[in-house]
Subunit: 327 residues, 2 copies
């Protein structure tokens, strides 16, 4: 088996965590990095009898100053370049409280790396094998934590044994959705507002597509609606002219997404339905289909975002404020 | 002192909870009812060394099925009429897990009331004294829980002693913002999208204004942005044509809202800035200014919503789907 990037640092980190008393896990990051951790909180909430999990924006974490943050806490801090000031500050803040800090940052000498006890190595970029990406490694760390501290129901090993086929699985899913993505982007390139929606472990994908792709990279208004909240306010906005990107996953909350789908099929029209049941997951251990769905959905939506960028002649990298003005 | 509705049921509930072992609090509700609990989670996160707190949409709670939900859990379930099916189901689900269920429902014979161990009484409607509303009573229950289980730093009694002046305080705040609300609603009545933004204990207010007022009651697109997340994606959407309702509170996270304000003042133009520093809080105990802000802000935004409804000739009660079609 190929030696995937990150596996060594992840194993060593888990080994170190094994001897520590951990009662609480705080996932601390901003924007798209934070969105990658929603599925991990889902796993801990659902499966752990000893750990609690929180997802905090880095500055919210610092200013809220959770009283339960202490030497029995594990803080998982994420910033790709490791130079997001508030995430580095959050890691330093956590260290002062006695917490153990593990970071996902690409740069081994970055401020965040220096503010962490352990750093997980990973690869980055459109051509990278998903097995080498932080997207998968964050989930793997979470399952590993359950394995060493409690009971992961064999899911950690199931994920590791599925890594060799993950790249092909993701590519197939992207191919399956290729035509649909091209069609949707072409048809709705001039829309002013596109909603996204999901529940459970996929909600982070809906969130990141809304804020990092539509709003940040395409300047299209958006809002990630929770599928369970949809029927308690948001659904009144629906009509045949309101575009929706709806994710259907394979976790225990799928019912909520299906209920939203039924409604959107009846009262909406401009729909991009991304259903994990369309994916060929035959090479992924069945026990982790729910866990891996968010990763695959994110890759499919990145293809969709490239189609939007092309047809709208608005490159994904175009910014008007970020790193250009003071804020 | 006037005998406020709800105080008796609240005192009796706290007395009953006193003898129970509580390690976790789950706030379980949908939409606007759920939004009322964000400030309570904030209080527990910040102040409690023994309790953890979660806010879940009712169906997400059931399907996620948190493993930590057990006989040491307190579930606070909220549904005004007490007939939201998923919230009643969540209360029943929690009871089966051995948890203690306290509900906020107006109807003493409602399905939710019947599925709860304890029910907090309250008043409802535009003319009601805020001291009698669930908005305040939810926060009071949370502070009471800290008082009996740990240490509320005197905040429970500070809130109770501030109740007699709360109505005047709220009315003054609404009066202070009256002209601004009329002006904003008139000027931006034809907008297609209005963002809201806040952080910390006020975020729930931004959320409920986005989903229950703008989207549900006015059919205007919206999205409640977290002020700390703003600079990690969402802010790229800002220009002189993008309306924002920004809340500034008095809790520890105010810095994030001030940072967002600075940016919006520079690059935005259609702004409704709701700053709690404009409120006359001289009759409210200083120790709970941060805790009470979200309540007052919600009343001010309800005035704003009435201005929108009038000038847009779109009554707040108009629905196209809710209770009209199957979903």
């Amino acid at each position: 088996m190929k030696n995937y990037t990150g596996q060594d640092s992840l194993s060593k980190t888990l080994e170190a965590l094994n001897s520590k008393n951990i009662k609480r896990v705080f996932y601390v990051a901003c924007g798209g990095s934070s969105a990658l951790t929603y599925s991990s909180k889902y796993i801990i909430d659902r499966d752990s009898k000893t750990l609690s999990a929180e997802v905090y924006n880095s500055n919210e974490f610092i200013y809220r100053n959770p009283k339960l943050l202490d030497e029995d806490s594990l803080v998982i801090a994420i910033s790709h370049l490791g130079n997001t000031p508030e995430t580095t500050a959050a890691a330093e803040f956590a260290q002062r409280k006695g917490a153990t800090v593990v970071s996902f940052t690409y740069e081994s000498e970055s401020p965040l790396a220096k503010a962490s006890h352990y750093r997980i190595d990973y690869q980055y970029g459109p051509q990278v094998n998903p097995a080498d990406s932080r997207n998968v490694l964050i989930i793997q760390l979470t399952l590993g934590l359950l394995k060493i501290k409690e009971d992961d129901h064999g899911k950690y090993d199931a994920l590791v044994s599925s890594l060799p086929e993950l790249d092909d699985t993701v590519k197939k899913a992207m191919e399956t959705y290729r035509d649909k993505s091209i069609k949707f982007a072409n048809k709705y390139k001039d829309e002013n507002m596109i909603y996204t929606m999901a529940s459970g472990s996929n909600y982070g994908v809906a969130y990141t597509f809304a804020i990092c792709i539509l709003m940040e990279a395409q300047w299209i208004n958006s809002h990630a609606i929770h599928a369970g909240e949809f029927f308690h306010g948001p659904f009144e906005i629906v009509d045949k002219n309101t575009p929706f990107v709806l994710l259907l996953g394979l976790d225990e909350t799928r019912f909520m997404e299906e209920r939203a789908l039924k409604f959107l099929n009846k009262y909406g029209e401009k729909l991009y339905i991304l259903d994990a049941k369309d994916f060929d997951l035959s090479k992924v251990d069945e026990s982790i289909h729910g866990e891996i769905t968010s990763v695959i959905q994110l890759y499919v939506l990145r293809s969709l975002s490239r189609e939007f960028a092309e047809v709208r002649n608005h490159p994904l990298e175009t910014r008007r404020y970020m790193h250009k003005v003071e804020y």
